[in-house]
Symmetry: C2
Subunit: 327 residues, 2 copies
C-alpha cells in the first residue's frame, strides 16, 4: 500500500473526517487501492449496521433525520449512507429530502455520505457495503444505510445490514405491494410511518397477520408506529433496533449473517479481480486475434467466448496478470 | 445441442411462434443451452432494431402501439421487446400500458415479449439483446425494444438498438433532465409526443439548440412531433427511422456499432462463463478451505480473494472445469 493510503487509514481510525471522506471516494470509484484499504480495515467493529428501505413517499428521509436526532440525544455517533439507485429523473425529490438532514451537517459525531448509481447498480451495492465498513472502522456507533426505492437493487443493498427496518405508510395496497416487492422476507422490523393518518391501525393489523405466515425463527418482527415529522415513536424504534441487535448476538444469527456476508464479499472480489485480469489480458493483446474476428463478425461472440474459456492458454499466466498490468 | 433445441431453432426460423416463445424462455432464464442457441442463430438478419426510451408518462406505450399499426399498414412484420427494469412498486401502471397493445395480439405478424427485472438488472440487458436477436432470426422486419424509465439500466438496454428514439413531452425542465439522464448522447431521433399540448414548439426549439452543441458526426438528429394517441406524426417518425437506417448503412456507422456490440457481447459471455466455472470450482470443493476461513472471519474477504486469484493452482484446470461441472 502507498504510504499515503496507509496514512489515510490510520488518520481515519483516529477520527479524521477528511481522511474518511477521501477513503470513501477511493472506494466508491473502485480505484486500485480499494482492495488493500478494505483488507486493512478487516474485522468487524462495534457498529450496529441498520438498513432502512420502503416505497417512495414513505417518509424514510424524515425518519432517518428523526432517528439520527434520537441516537445523538443518547450520545451515540451516527454514520449515514444514503443510496439512490434510481433514475436521474427522480433526482429532484431526493435532493429535497436530503436537505432535511442539514441540521446534522455541523455535528462532528454524524457523518453523511450519499451514493448514487452513476455506474452499474451491482457496483452500488458493493460501494455501499464498503462505505458502511469504513464508517464502522471510523468508530461510528450506529451506521444507517437508507435506500430510496424498493427494486431489486435496493434489496441487494439491504443485505449488508445487520438489522433491516422496512418503512410503510397507511395506504391501501401497501402491504400487498410490500409482499410482492420481497420486503416481507427482509424485514426485521416494520415501521408504519405517518401513523396519525387514517388506516394506520389497519396496515399494522395486516402486517401482523402476514408476519404470522412467516416460518418462526426465534424473532417476532415488531410493527412500530411512528410520526417521524414530530418524532413520535422514534424512541420505540431505537429500542426495537437495540432489541434486535441483542437477539443477533444471543441467537447466533448475527454470526451466521456475517459469515454469509463475508462469503458473498469474497466471491464478489474474486469476480471483480478476474474481470480486471481479463481486461489486462485484452490490453496485453492476448485475446486480440479472437476479438478482432468477433468484431468483424467472422465468428459469433457466444461461440468464441466459450472457445476462449476452454483454451488453457488463456488461463495460464492469469494468476500473475494482475501484477504485470496494474489497473 | 440437444436435438429438441436444434429443432426449436429450425422451427423458429420457419416462422413457428411457439418455438420462438420457447427459445425466448430458455434464453431469458439463461438456461445452459443459451450459448448454443445464440451461437446457432449468429449473423445479423435484416431487421431494423429500434430502441424507444424516455421518462415515465411520455406516452411511450401509446407511441409503440401507433408505430406498430403504421408499420403493419406498410406490410412490415414487427417484434416488440417491452422491458421493465423498474421496481415492483410501479407494476400497476405498466400493466395498464401493455393492454393498449392488445389489438395486435391476434396479428400473426406481430410478436410481443415483456421482460422484467426478476433477477439482476445486468442480466436484463443481456436477455433483452438475446430476445431481440431471436426476433431478428425469426424474420421480423422491425424489432422495437421499449424501456419504461430512464435509469442507467435503460441506457444499457438501449445500446443493443441500431437506432434509438428518445420520447419527451412538452413539460418544463424535460429537456434539462433528458440531458442529465444521458439521453442526449444516445438519441438518434427525438420525439416530442403529446405535441398538441402547450410548450411543444418550445421543447422542440430547446432540443434543436442543444443538439447543435453535439459534435457533428454526419447525422442531424431530427425532432419529430407526434400525437401518438391520434396517430399524428407517426408516419413521419417511421420515415425518420428509415432514413437513419439508410445512414447507418451508407456511413459505415452501422458496421461500427455492430462491431462494438459483438465485442461487448463476447466479453459478457466470457465473464458469465468464467463466473460459472468459479461456481463449479467452489462446488467441486476446490475453494472450500479458503471460503471456510473467510466465513469464520479468520482471513478478510478482500485479501483472501486477491490471494486466490494470484494462486496458479486455482486457474490450472479451469479451462476444462465447465465440462466437468455442467450448470
Amino acid at each position: 500500500m502507498r504510504a499515503t493510503t496507509q496514512e489515510l487509514v490510520e488518520r481515519m481510525k483516529n477520527g479524521d473526517r477528511l481522511a474518511l471522506a477521501k477513503l470513501m471516494t477511493i472506494v466508491e470509484n473502485r480505484e486500485p487501492e480499494t482492495a488493500e484499504i478494505m483488507s486493512s480495515i478487516h474485522g468487524r467493529g462495534d457498529s450496529a449496521i441498520i438498513g432502512i428501505t420502503g416505497p417512495p413517499g414513505a417518509g424514510k428521509s424524515t425518519l432517518l433525520d428523526a432517528l439520527t436526532t434520537q441516537l445523538r440525544s443518547e450520545g451515540r455517533s451516527v454514520g449515514v449512507v444514503a443510496v439512490d439507485p434510481s433514475s436521474p429523473f427522480s433526482g429532484g425529490a431526493v435532493l429535497g429530502d436530503r436537505i432535511r438532514m442539514q441540521k446534522h451537517f455541523l455535528d462532528q459525531e454524524v457523518f453523511i455520505r450519499s451514493l448514487s448509481a452513476r455506474g452499474n447498480v451491482g457496483g452500488l451495492a458493493r460501494a455501499s457495503r464498503d462505505v458502511a465498513r469504513l464508517l464502522e472502522a471510523g468508530g461510528k456507533d450506529v451506521v444507517i444505510v437508507e435506500t430510496v426505492g424498493v427494486g431489486q437493487s435496493e434489496l441487494d443493498i439491504m443485505r449488508l445490514a445487520d438489522t433491516v427496518a422496512v418503512v410503510l405508510v397507511p395506504e391501501a395496497g401497501d402491504t400487498v405491494q410490500a409482499m410482492k416487492a420481497g420486503l416481507l422476507e427482509i424485514a426485521d422490523i416494520f415501521v408504519v410511518n405517518k401513523a396519525d393518518r387514517d388506516g394506520a391501525q389497519k396496515i399494522k393489523n395486516e402486517l401482523e397477520q402476514m408476519l404470522h405466515l412467516r416460518p418462526p425463527d426465534g424473532w417476532d418482527v415488531p410493527v412500530i408506529m411512528t410520526v417521524a415529522v414530530e418524532g413520535t415513536g422514534v424512541a420505540e424504534l431505537v429500542e426495537a433496533l437495540d432489541t434486535h441487535r441483542e437477539h443477533l448476538g444471543a441467537s447466533g444469527l448475527g454470526d451466521r449473517r456475517s459469515a454469509a456476508g463475508r462469503h458473498e464479499e469474497f466471491l464478489a472480489v474474486l469476480r471483480d479481480e478476474i474481470g480486471r485480469r481479463i481486461q489486462g489480458a485484452i490490453e496485453a493483446g492476448r485475446l486480440g486475434p479472437i476479438i478482432d474476428r468477433v468484431e468483424k463478425g467472422e465468428v459469433d461472440p457466444y461461440g468464441a467466448a466459450l472457445d476462449a474459456v476452454g483454451d488453457p492458454g488463456i488461463w495460464s499466466g492469469m494468476s500473475g496478470a494482475g501484477s504485470e498490468e496494474p489497473d
